[in-house]
Symmetry: C2
Subunit: 347 residues, 2 copies
């Protein structure tokens, strides 16, 4: 399932808020529409919203008939708006900055036409590279789990969340392709139920037996269901190895540590933020309380209920067994407890 | 809020599955109706279903015109059916056994009328004692927290779950009565949302500021919201101090330990099972998968999704800071890792 499609010159997104009930594709015509789609999670998943952000800038460039210096200013302004759509996944800012840099290089010596072409080419390159990253993560991840067959995963990290086959879920799909007799436990992932709605769908389509559980049951399930590893994605990895990911990940990491099983993060290096020394520096998006006080539009709590609704949490590096990227195992750039320049396996 | 009412000879239950939307009282006329109400969680909470079970036997006795020995056999048969309604909370079996024992004592020397009266008196005594236990737990619990004002709680453990003011929530209400400037964070408690539906309601009615969160956010909230203690109830406490409670409690205990704050269980001694050596011996109820694959009757996952739905989990004694009962702090009856006879603060 590829959540983004180019149909000739038309850019289409699968509206993931309607899955699994409805498969509706929406056409994105401008930056404002893409920002709305990202903020409302019609498109979601750190790698996928990076791709979407790049394509949004390509739409902005295509719509412009301005001379190069005006076009570059327009792209700058659009970039700021896109980055503000969701603050935690660094892939969004990373992709926007990459496309802006390509535009700036083209704009130095050439006209607006070349800038437009450079923006389009860079956006498509980010997409294509992410497809390749998915393949490489799947290979590295499969090698990391030579015998394990009972996995617990959280949120959705498959084809719907990336430009390719996925991050954590991509590893499980690869193990299945290699003939592993897999069993997967998927947390429903409140408040927006990406596990129940999307991960179950992707696993069912791959023919992998899956059991759904409420998020609160995960720590117990790790023991009673004899889970062998927890695998999740990431929205931002700090230089010291702290991992921001879908809220609930920290609890899974604690459950894994207590049970003595690995807690493994699978993410492209575009999710690593070398400018973020630790998890405390990662901005955590707080979303509308109504996501917590209701389910699918139906109120679940008394009127006027206040809610705490962080979309992500931070798992400290000490609880993370391994971070698997397209470049292999990524190691935090830390010496003596402090992040250093350089590090391994990182852009 | 008292979830059970006697109106003359009529026994009424507040149907908690409809809260907070509707306040509907249902009349319970026989054992079958009470079993249905317990199994479907119209009445829930370990102490409350103990009370309900005792009252169910009183209904059975009242309906009988049999001689004493036939009545006793009828009560035995009803007791077995009531105990099977929900297997984890030991209060159910404990109350049933107490009422049966009272009936047996009366039946030895007297006629059916005395048996009926003994059954009714014992059922009412259990109810009255639980009211007193709530008061005593609130006192002991308030003393246990001399300064704390930021608490996280799980599921519902207030007046709706007991014959009195509650267990864990009763302690918080008592702190408020004593003038503590409380802030409470309540987990929604999937799958059946007792936190969102019931705990928020009870806290709002007491004028205590409460923020609702999804279960997966609890471990992160403990850190970011600077929670000072986690307080929960219990459905069964094994002799070694392992605690079965609403699923999700284990994850909260792990979060509390990692953050270095207390994880405190508040429960009457009727929740202690001296015949259960450890948590591994506690039967954990698995409920209908549809509770996980839907919310309030609406499907949330693709058709045909399998689910793992334990209603409770087990928190090992090593993660429990304290168990507060009506008799004060309860200590596991353990020496050298093995449960022993005797112990403290226990019937």
């Amino acid at each position: 399932v590829d959540p983004i499609r180019l149909a000739g010159e038309r850019l289409l997104l699968l509206d993931q808020t309607l899955l699994p009930g409805k498969e509706r594709w929406i056409e994105i015509r401008d930056v404002a529409a893409m920002i709305e789609a990202i903020a409302s999670l019609r498109i979601r998943g750190a790698p996928a919203i990076g791709i979407a952000a790049g394509l949004a800038l390509a739409l902005e460039a295509k719509a412009s008939t301005d001379p190069a210096h005006v076009l570059l200013a327009r792209l700058d302004a659009a970039a700021a708006r896109i980055k503000a759509a969701r603050p935690t996944a660094v892939n969004l800012a990373w992709a926007v900055d990459r496309v802006l840099a390509a535009a700036g290089r083209a704009g130095k010596d050439s006209g607006a036409g070349d800038v437009r072409e450079a923006v389009r080419a860079e956006a498509l390159a980010i997409w294509e590279e992410d497809r390749g990253a998915s393949r490489a993560m799947a290979e590295h991840g499969a090698a990391f789990f030579p015998t394990e067959s009972r996995f617990l995963t959280h949120c959705n990290t498959g084809g719907l969340a990336t430009g390719g086959g996925g991050t954590a879920l991509g590893v499980l799909l690869e193990l299945r392709r290699r003939g592993r007799d897999l069993r997967v436990w998927a947390t429903e992932t409140r408040p927006l139920l990406q596990g129940a709605r999307l991960t179950v769908l992707e696993l069912q389509e791959a023919g992998i037996p899956v059991r759904l559980l409420v998020d609160g049951a995960a720590a117990f399930a790790i023991r009673t269901e004899r889970i062998e590893a927890v695998v999740v994605g990431a929205d931002r990895i700090a230089a010291n190895g702290d991992v921001a990911n879908k809220v609930g990940s920290l609890g899974l990491a604690l459950g894994a540590r207590d049970a003595g099983i690995p807690f493994v993060v699978v993410a492209p290096t575009s999710s690593v933020d070398p400018d973020c020394p630790s998890g405390e520096d990662i901005p955590i998006e707080e979303r509308d309380p109504v996501e917590v006080t209701s389910v699918a539009g139906r109120p679940t709590a008394p009127g006027g209920t206040a809610a705490y609704n962080p979309a992500f949490d931070v798992t400290p590096a000490r609880l993370v067994t391994a971070i698997i990227t397209e470049a292999g195992l990524w190691r935090p750039r830390v010496v003596g407890g402090r992040p250093i320049e350089g590090g391994s396996g990182h852009r």
